[in-house]
Structure formats: structure tokens, C-alpha cells
Amino acid sequence: MEYVNPEGLRLDGRRPMEMRQLRAEIGVISKADGSAVFEMGNTKVIAAVYGPREVQNRSQQLNDQALVRCEYSMANFSTGDRMRKPKGDRRSTEISLVIRQTMEACILTHLMPRSQIDIFVQVLQADGGTRSACINAATLALADAGIPMRDLVTSCSSGFLNGTPLLDLNYLEDSAGGADVTVGILPKLDKVTLLQMDAKLQMDTFENVMQLAIEGCKAVASYIREILLENTKQLESRRGI
């Protein structure tokens, strides 16, 4: 299968270093303390943040920091093949864990002891890169909820097919059997907080592929900043400041 044609175009018309179209919206769920929709091409996720609030289950309460919880779920219609997905299967538990750890690392949890922050991400459409989209959506939702954070966390994936590093794989490219590197960074601090890869890669190619994913994360970060700025301006004007 040819994933990059000799003219240097991918199956969907992108060039190897290009990302899919990004779209984000803040405050989509009025009842939540913070919420956001994040789209990377056809991948669309919605994140809601509740908290900081009273810890629901007292036994989990932490006296020196906030409790961060996360649940990831996929809508039945999110994939091409419809199936009932039992809640809490291995894959979603794993992704929930990954998102929780990534977000926890940037939330200033010590400022909110004895409280709980819930992050819920719901995948509406999956077309590759759901993990990254979830993290990006969660970042926006946390910011919307006004939860203190060290930095934004942004994420992007990249892969390696036909001997070419490709940014932001879609489902078709993701299922091609090549490597899939998902990276999450703290863009201001310039630190990698999440790194996952399946399949094998040579060390030197891995370096390039990871670098590409980091570039992708930075692009996402600048987009997210734009969205947040826009949102803040709107809030300002709404409040007549």
C-alpha cells in the first residue's frame, strides 16, 4: 500500500509534515465547570471538567493535594463498525489512565487539597489520534474550568510509513501497521510528559519521528492558545470589561 505517493501527497491530500484541520470550541456543556470540543480532522472528542469540588468518596480524599480522576468513553457510533462497547474495557481504562496521569502532571494539585477534579472525555468520532485529541480537549476544558496549571499540555501523534515520517496519522494510516508515536508536551517548559509508541522503529528514525510529533504538539499549542485568547476576549466583552 502506498501511503505517500511519489508526488509527496498522502491519501487524504496532506503532505507528510502536515496536520489535519484543527477545530476547538470552549464551553459546550453549560452544566460542567469547564468543557471543550476538540477536532483533529474527523476525530472529534468532547471533554467536560467538574471540579474542584468536594471529594465524593471520602476514602479517596488526599489531604495534601487534589484528587484527579478521568474517564474516557467512546460513543457507539464513533467508529465505522458499530458495536456496543462495554464501559471500562481494557483499552479505555488504559487511555483513561494515560490522560489522567498526563493531566495530573500539569495541574497544580497541591493548591487544592481535599478536593476532587473530574475529567470526562467522550469520543464522538474516531479517525486516528483519539488519545491526542482527548488530551488537547482536556487541556482546554481544564483551562475553561479555571483550574491552575503549570502549563498547557498538548499532544500529537506521528508515524513512519513508506520510509517517511508522517505527522498526525488518521485511522487509515494508523492501521497500516507502522509505528505510531504519541507525544504530549508542556510547550512552554519544553518538556515531554507523554510518550507512547507501538511497533518497532530504528533508533535514528525514532528520533526524527518523535521530533516531528513534538513539532506537531507545538503547533497544537499555539492553536490552543489562540482559542483560549479568543475565549477570554469574548468573556471580557460579555462582562463589559
Binding site: N5, P6, E7, L9, L11, D12, G13, R14, E18, R20, Q21, G41, N42, G80, D81, D127, N170, L172, K200, Q202
Partner: protein
């Protein structure tokens, strides 16, 4: 960058899945014209002086690719919609089109119209995908015209009447292929145009103008939907049709659904299928199986005759003999069937010549001729030409276009001329083309991968910890005389313990050929060096093969070595593998090595080493034979070639000496040791070589022949066969060798495979009686060895395993390619020897001895040991079966004169006369007659 979504519906496994894909439209796709003021011209491909730019549609590419490949057609814009359609319809044509687009000599530019914001068209409701694509082509053509302005004429080439009409309405210039080519004013180009099949019926027919010509010759192919449902229900069987190389009226379809081969007898049953086509076959009722077979045999004998050819060296190139041919009443075991539809065509172009025919009266007009392919599996092809007089004595390439039911032969068109028939260079090129051998010089990218020359071992190499310095050892090589690509050398040293240290040193090719480089890719594609009689086509560039890697004497070279400690009884105590540096002290020829060993006066250390090794080799050989290895034989011949004219001066059997066997023995041992080592480290991704055990059926001809001379062979195991071969001694010394030659040709060739694809019992090498085997010892001329070197190096931790070993399917495809290339290389060598045999005998009618292999109804087949050829000797004229001076008993394999004077049986020696005759002008062939 705009975004658009395209909606596609797809079914897989009966499920309906809606697939949604994004489709990004761009504004950075350039037109490829160097004079364009808007676009980035860095990647432009079209010529700056072009006054006309052609836009071709899909059908033009699919049908007229031969025309497009002609340099007269240039400045072509290939739209991505066309590429995509071509790819889906015919991958072969797609690859050729891609090659054109990437060829820097040609001006073919790929325009990604499907991703350009101005040329992307969305399917309209009620519009078929075909119509949509045609519209996309028109939109792109129009865009080009608007984009480039009036200075350039953008011409849409289409044979679709409707499309052309719409184009003209839209104000796009459009022409048919024929009218455009006519406007170029090169009449010969018109030969390249494929005639649309609709013209077929009205076309004057060259072969028969009888009124019956309109009668249907072949049954209709079933529609695809019926075939699919038939395959589903198990009434039809799908498989690749393989035509018997020696009897084009017999073909086999390997069917997975019935787990056996289905035989298809006769052209009517083959129903226009070509060799390599994927076909759907229907089984015939069992009571007709026999009838069809005899029909095919009868058919066979009145159409064509066997030519004299080189004696086959394995079952792969031997004619298939119908088992139990004499026994007409027995129920045949193989099912027989007929082709009811063709699922995928394997048509490509073929090398051959025109059937000789008189020049038609009107000079210069269009003549119809029949083309005969060199490949006998291909039926004659009808074609028309405007240059008949010019083509009659030429080797030409012809491509097949269509084959309708009314026509006995398929129709095709002329592609190009190779040269004159019989000319050695022409015929050699034919051999290369026929066997898909790339004999072009290496590209500059490939040559750029070579180390700087002159090359010598550097201090770095010497200090490299992975490389052992073995320059102090007395290493030597033994090869055929004049060998320049020496890839193996040996040493043998008596250790203080009384044991021997024996080393096999193989050129360290992978030190220079790195994975993923153009050099490596080229070598992987070529797969092997090809040895023709008068030239060698290298797998690697000459500086590597003859200098940098070649283990010549008195120079320091890098090697990959296998070193054993052996007892004097040739028991291997330990094996070690290392990269090394050696300095060979002598490059001997087999003759020299043999002479040294035989000359009892010589007592120098080198000769002692040789003798020691020879003793060890003999023991090893004996052990191998005891394990059941076969001593096989083949009738290899050797030519002496005139260095000036390259014509053969002499021809004779290749002599095998002890020295050859000695070298062979150590190479086998090294290969086996390496095979074990790599398999141990990489069980799923080792490249090994296996030799499948021959089936009883394959050995049938051998058993029959042996039985005819009263010999009973036990073929139950390779050991039993080896023993019975040893016992088969006749009155004359050559008898045993003859039997061995016959045994060899019953076996198939050994093949490469990826160890993960088979289970360990299947790894076995039957001929060598080895449980695992691989190729390690000739990396200069075989790519398999290069792979094995990398595996071995990785197993020693010297270097990292390259990517390809991480994906089994890729390794499998490499093994498949190597098998294909090896087979082709062998066929090419054989064809080259056949060609030179013919040239040699052209002026040298010869009388010689021959052995009868098989009695046939009109004579017998003989084998000429001296020249390694075999062919028919006719005792009766063609077609005359009975009533001659001879009585033939095919059952008993005896032939005798009516007056009882002479009688002949199988394996008997006869004297024959060999002479080149020309039954038809420009078609020389070797004829054998009984003296």
C-alpha cells in the same frame, strides 16, 4: 488549504460500512511547465519549448502504453485521477506509467488534479464514477489551457467519442489517439496503436479468408457475477493457469479449492487464457477426462514439433511427461477441466518474430501478419503492420490487445524491433528480455554508493575490534580458470592437538553494501548475477565484484569467516564465526589445485594444506552420502569463446575434478553451519534454502526408463534412491552418470524461503540430506547470501538487524523475488548455451554418439552427452504413423526395422548426425538424424 470530505460506501465481508475520509484540497500543486509564471517551476518536468501539452485519459493509458513509451510522444500531463484508475485496473500498466513519469529522459508530469482546489470535482447526483472521472479529466485539461494561456496548446487525447464531444463543447481541444499520431507524420508509430476491438470483426484476416471465419471458435466467457457466485458455490475453481513449457496445448491450474492441479487440455478448453492468467475453471465430467487428454495429444502432434534443446538439469525445466502414457484404459488421476472465464489477464509484451509469409502485392500498405513468440506457451498473435518487409527477418516485441471469440488467434500490436534474427547480439538480448533480466548499466546513484577507489584495507578496519586479523594465515582460493569475482577462500592448519583448523573465508560484501542504499536496492532487485556464455551480468557493480570484494591473491581483503576445529576424522569440534582480514597467498584454478595434489613431488606447505583438506573433504563427503545425500549429475557444457568475435570455438562437457568436489564440500559445510546459527538466533526470520522431496509422480519417468532396461530403483527415501543409484551400473562407464542425469532432472530446484513461513520438517534439503541449509558463500553474485551475511552478523551482535527482518511478509517477498530471479538466471544461461550451440554447429555438421532417452511413435528422443543437448530423431516423416520401415512399440519402449535388422531400446547408444538446417528462411534449427 481547504478541506473537503468525500463519502464512500464500502462492503467487506458482507457488512455495509460507511467509510468517511477527509480530502484536503491544496493551492500548492504546480503545473509542471517551466515557463509558468505563477507556479513554482523547480519541479517542472515538461519541456520549455513545448507547443502542445497532451492530457491523456485512462483508457488511452491502459491500451496505448506502448505508444506512450515511444519517445515520439512527450510533454504528457498524467492526472492523478488517471493514475488511480489505471492502478485499479492494471497494475502492470500502472508501473510502466510510473516508470515513465520518473524517467528523467521523458517529459511526463504527474498533476495531482484530485488535490488541487481548482480541479477537484465532486460527484453529482446521478453521475456514475466513470462520468465523474471523465469530467475531472476535462476540468483539468481546461484548467491547464486557462492556466498556461494561448501560447501552449493543451490537447486532450481520448478515444471515447462521448468524452471528446463534451470536451469540444467545453472548448477543450481533443483528438483521438490515431488522429494525433497521424498528425505527427511518423507512419511507423501507427503500428504501435492498439486497434479497438470493435474493428476486429471487420478487419481483413491474414490467416484465413474462408467464409467460415466468422464462426465462433471459442465458447463465451461467463460474466463476472456468475463466476463469483460459481466460485462461492464450489462449481468453479479459481487459479493461475500455467501452460506446459514443452506442450502449449496442455495447461495446469493449481486450485486451492480442490487441493489439486486441474489439467486443461487443448486451446478450446483453455478458451483464450494465457499463461499466468488467473482463470475460473469448470471440471469436466470424469468420463471425459481421458478423451480430452488424447485429444490434446493428437492436437499437439499435428501442430508443432519438439526442437533440439539443452538437456534439462532439473524437473523445473524438463517437459512434463504424462504419467503412464502407454496405459490408455486406466482412469486418469488428475481432474481435467475447461476455462469458463478469465479473472485477471497476465498479458504483457512478448519477444519473437513474424511467421514467414510472402510480401503482399501492394507495397507500403497495411499487411496482416502472424507473430510467433519465442516463448512456446504463447499462441500466435495476429497483428497488422505497415512495415512488413522490414520486420520479416527481425526479432520484434509485440503486445497483446484482445482475443475475441471469432478469432483463432489473439490480436496484438507491434512495439519495437530488437534486431535481426540469428544475430548473436539480437538473440542474446531476446534471452535477457524473455527472462526479465535487467542488463542496463548501474545508475549513478548506485555507483555513488561504492567506496572511493582505489580501495585498500584501512588502519580503521585493522583496529576494528569486531574484525580479526588473519593475515598471517596461509589462505588460498580455488576457482574456475579466469574467475575474477572470487568470493571464497580457505585455509587449513594443523593444530598442535593433531586437530585441524579449517577456515572458509567469504568476501565481506555487506561491509560495502548497506541496507536501504540504492546499491542494496538494486542488488535486491537483480537478485543474482547472470552468467551467459559470452558475458556476465553482475548483481553488483564491477569495482566491487572484481576488485574490492574479490579475494584476489596477495592483497588484503575483508572477509566474513567460518572457522572450524576438526578432528582428522572430519568431526567438527567447534565452530566460530568472525569478520576478518585475510591476505590470500594464491588464487588457484581447479586444474592447478588438482595438479598440485596429484604431483607427488610437491611438498610445499600450500600443497600439503590442499591434500589435508582433500582428505577431510572426502570423509565429509562420505558421511554426507551415508546420511542419504544424492550424488547428482548434470550435463553441463563449456564453451570456448573467441575473444575477438565472441563466437564459440569449441564446446565440451564440463569436467568435474576432485578439487571441485573438495571446494564444494567445504562450502556446503559452511552453509550448513551458518544456517544452523542464524536459525537458532532468528527462528521466524531466517532466509533458508530448501529442496522439497520429489513426489513419486515426479520420479515416474525415471522409474519407467530404468524399468525398460531392467533396472529397479527404490525411491522411498533419498537414502534408498542414493543407494540404488550407486548400484545402477551398466556395461559402459557412462551408464551410471546417465542414470544420475535422468534422476537429477526429475527433481525440482531448491528454493529460498523465510523460516517463519514453514514448519521445521519442511526446511529439509532433500538433495543434500541436510535438515537446514542456506546460502552464505557467494555474496558477490547472489543476494540471498548478502541477506544471510546480515543475519549472521546480527546474530553475533556485530550489527543491528535491518528493518526488513522485522516484517515477515517483506522477507517472504524477497525470497520469492530471489527464487524468480534465480530461475530466470538459469533459464537465461540455458537459453544462451542453446543459442551458442546453434551458432557453433552452423558451420560444423558433426557426427557423434547419442543415447536414446525415449521411444516415440515416429522415432526417438536422444541425448547427446558431449554437447549436453537432447532432441528428436525422426525415423518417419511427420504425420506418417504407420506403414513405414519401422515398427514402434511405445509400451515396451522398443523400435525395430520391419526387416528385423536394427532394433533400438532405451539408453542404447546410437550414432547421429547433427546439422543446422533452415526449413524456413531465417529460422535455423538444429536437426538430428540417425546414421
Amino acid at each position: 488549504m481547504l478541506q473537503s470530505k468525500s463519502f464512500v460506501k464500502k462492503t467487506k465481508q458482507g457488512r455495509v460500512v460507511k467509510v468517511v475520509r477527509e480530502h484536503y484540497l491544496r493551492d500548492d500543486i504546480y503545473c509542471g511547465a517551466p515557463l509558468c509564471k505563477v507556479c513554482d517551476v523547480a519541479a517542472s518536468r515538461l519541456s520549455s519549448t513545448a507547443s502542445t501539452i497532451l492530457v491523456v485519459d485512462t483508457n488511452v493509458v491502459l491500451h496505448q502504453i506502448d505508444l506512450l513509451e515511444n519517445p515520439a510522444i512527450d510533454d504528457v500531463v498524467v492526472l492523478s485521477v488517471v493514475l488511480e484508475e489505471v492502478k485499479n485496473k492494471n497494475l502492470g500498466v500502472y508501473n510502466r506509467l510510473r516508470a515513465l513519469c520518473s524517467n528523467s529522459q521523458r517529459r511526463f508530469f504527474v498533476f495531482s488534479n484530485e488535490y488541487h482546489k481548482d480541479t477537484y470535482v465532486k460527484i453529482e447526483t446521478g453521475e456514475s464514477p466513470n462520468d465523474r472521472n471523465d469530467r475531472a479529466i476535462r476540468v483539468a485539461a481546461q484548467w491547464y489551457q486557462n492556466h498556461l494561456g494561448s501560447a501552449v496548446r493543451v490537447l486532450l487525447i481520448t478515444n471515447d467519442r462521448d468524452n471528446k464531444k463534451k470536451a469540444v463543447t467545453d472548448g477543450i481541444l481533443a483528438e483521438t489517439v490515431e488522429s494525433y499520431v497521424k498528425s505527427l507524420g511518423q507512419p511507423a508509430l501507427l503500428d504501435l496503436i492498439v486497434q479497438p476491438p470493435s474493428d476486429d470483426v471487420t478487419m481483413e484476416d491474414a490467416e484465413d479468408l474462408r467464409p467460415s471465419k466468422r464462426k465462433t471458435i471459442y465458447p463465451e466467457h461467463k460474466p463476472m457475477s456468475e463466476i463469483t457466485s460459481g466460485l462461492h458455490r464450489g462449481i468453479y475453481h479459481q487459479g493461475k493457469l500455467r501452460v506446459n513449457r514443452y506442450n502449449p496445448f496442455e495447461a495446469y491450474v493449481g486450485s486451492e479449492s480442490i487441493g489439486d492441479e486441474i489439467i486443461v487440455y487443448g486451446r478450446t478448453n483453455m478458451n483464450r487464457a494465457f499463461d499466468g492468467d488467473i482463470v475460473a475453471v469448470e471440471l469436466l465430467p470424469q468420463d471425459r477426462w481421458q478423451e480430452e487428454k488424447s485429444l490434446a495429444i493428437a492436437n499437439d502432434e499435428d501442430e508443432e514439433e519438439d526442437d533440439v534443446h539443452l538437456a534439462p538439469s532439473s524437473a523445473d525445466d524438463a517437459p512434463r511427461v504424462p504419467s503412464s502414457a502407454g496405459d490408455k484404459n486406466a482412469m486418469p488421476t488428475r481432474p481435467s477441466g475447461r476455462v469458463i472465464g478469465i479473472i485477471k489477464r497476465n498479458w504483457h509484451s512478448y519477444c519473437g518474430s513474424l511467421d514467414p509469409m510472402p510480401m503482399p502485392a501492394g507495397e507500403g500498405g497495411i499487411a496482416h501478419a502472424l507473430f510467433v513468440s519465442k516463448d512456446r506457451r504463447i499462441p500466435k498473435i495476429r497483428m497488422q503492420t505497415r512495415q512488413l518487409g522490414n520486420l520479416l527477418d527481425k526479432r520484434i516485441i509485440v503486445a497483446v490487445d484482445s482475443w475475441d471469440r471469432l478469432s483463432r488467434h489473439p490480436s496484438g500490436h507491434y512495439v519495437r524491433t530488437i534486431g535481426e534474427i540469428g544475430d548473436r547480439d539480437t538473440e542474446s538480448e531476446v534471452v535477457l528480455i524473455e527472462n526479465d533480466i535487467d542488463a542496463r548499466p548501474f545508475s549513478s546513484q548506485v555507483l555513488a554508493c561504492l567506496p572511493p577507489l582505489p580501495w585498500s584495507v584501512s588502519a580503521e578496519d585493522i583496529s576494528n575490534p569486531i574484525r580479526q586479523d588473519l593475515r598471517h594465515l596461509r589462505v588460498f582460493s580455488v576457482d574456475p580458470p579466469g574467475c575474477k569475482d572470487i568470493d571464497d577462500a580457505l585455509h587449513c592448519m594443523l593444530l598442535p592437538s593433531g586437530h585441524f583448523e579449517v577456515g572458509v573465508h567469504i568476501a565481506d560484501v555487506t561491509n560495502f553494501v548497506h541496507p536501504g542504499t540504492p546499491l542494496d536496492d538494486e542488488a535486491a532487485t537483480r537478485g543474482t548475477s547472470v552468467y551467459l556464455v559470452e558475458r556476465r551480468i553482475d548483481m553488483l557493480p564491477k569495482p566491487l565484484t572484481e576488485d574490492v570484494c574479490s579475494l584476489r591473491s596477495d592483497v588484503e581483503r575483508l572477509t566474513f569467516s567460518v572457522i572450524w576445529e576438526m578432528t582428522p576424522e572430519a568431526e567438527i569440534i567447534s565452530t566460530r564465526y568472525t569478520k576478518a582480514i585475510i591476505k590470500s597467498c594464491a588464487a588457484l584454478s581447479y586444474v592447478e589445485a588438482q595438479a598440485r595434489m596429484d604431483d607427488s613431488r610437491l611438498m610445499d606447505p600450500l600443497t600439503t594444506d590442499l591434500r589435508n583438506m582433500n582428505v577431510l573433504a572426502k570423509i565429509m563427503r562420505q558421511k554426507r552420502i551415508e546420511r542419504g545425500a544424492l550424488t547428482l549429475a548434470s550435463a553441463e557444457v563449456k564453451f570456448q569463446i573467441d575473444t575477438e568475435t565472441h563466437d564459440p570455438l569449441d564446446i565440451g562437457m564440463y569436467q568435474i575434478r576432485e578439487a571441485n568436489q573438495m571446494i564444494e564440500e567445504f562450502m556446503l559445510a559452511a552453509n550448513i553451519s551458518v544456517a544452523k546459527k542464524i536459525l537458532e538466533h532468528f527462528p521466524p526470520t531466517s532466509l533458508l534454502r530448501r529442496h522439497p522431496s520429489p513426489t513419486k509422480e515426479m520420479l515416474e519417468p525415471l522409474i519407467q526408463t530404468a524399468a525398460a532396461v531392467g533396472l529397479c530403483l527404490d525411491v522411498t527415501s533419498s537414502k534408498a534412491l542414493a543407494d540404488s543409484l550407486d548400484r545402477a551400473v551398466g556395461e559402459d562407464p557412462y551408464f551410471n552418470k546417465l542414470i544420475r542425469i535422468l534422476a537429477t532432472r526429475c527433481m525440482t530446484q531448491a528454493v529460498y524461503f523465510c523460516s517463519g513461513d514453514l514448519s521445521p520438517p519442511e526446511f529439509c534439503h532433500y538433495g543434500l540430506a541436510a535438515p537446514v541449509y542456506t546460502h552464505f558463500t557467494s555474496p558477490i553474485r547472489r543476494y540471498a547470501d548478502v541477506i544471510v551475511h546480515r543475519l549472521l552478523a546480527a546474530s553475533l551482535g556485530i550489527c543491528r538487524l535491518p528493518d526488513i527482518f522485522q516484517e515477515r511478509p517483506r522477507l517472504t517477498s524477497i525470497a520469492d523475488n530471489l527464487n524468480y530471479r534465480h530461475k530466470n538466471a538459469q533459464m537465461a544461461s540455458r537459453a544462451s548455451v542453446e543459442l551458442h550451440t546453434l551458432i557453433y554447429f552452423r558451420n560444423r555438421p558433426t557426427d557423434t554418439e547419442a543415447r536414446i532417452l525415449k521411444i516415440r511413435s515416429n522415432g526417438f528422443i536422444v541425448f547427446v552427452p558431449k554437447y549436453g543437448i537432447e532432441g528428436p530423431v525422426h525415423l518417419m516423416a511427420r504425420g506418417q504413423k504407420e506403414g513405414g520401415k519401422w515398427i514402434v512399440d511405445e509400451q515396451q519402449q522398443k523400435i525395430k526395422k520391419i526387416d528385423g535388422q536394427d532394433s533400438y531400446g532405451v539408453l542404447q547408444t546410437v550414432r547421429i548426425h547433427m546439422e543446422v538446417v533452415e526449413p524456413q528462411p531465417n529460422r535455423p534449427k538444429l536437426q538430428l538424424t540417425l546414421i
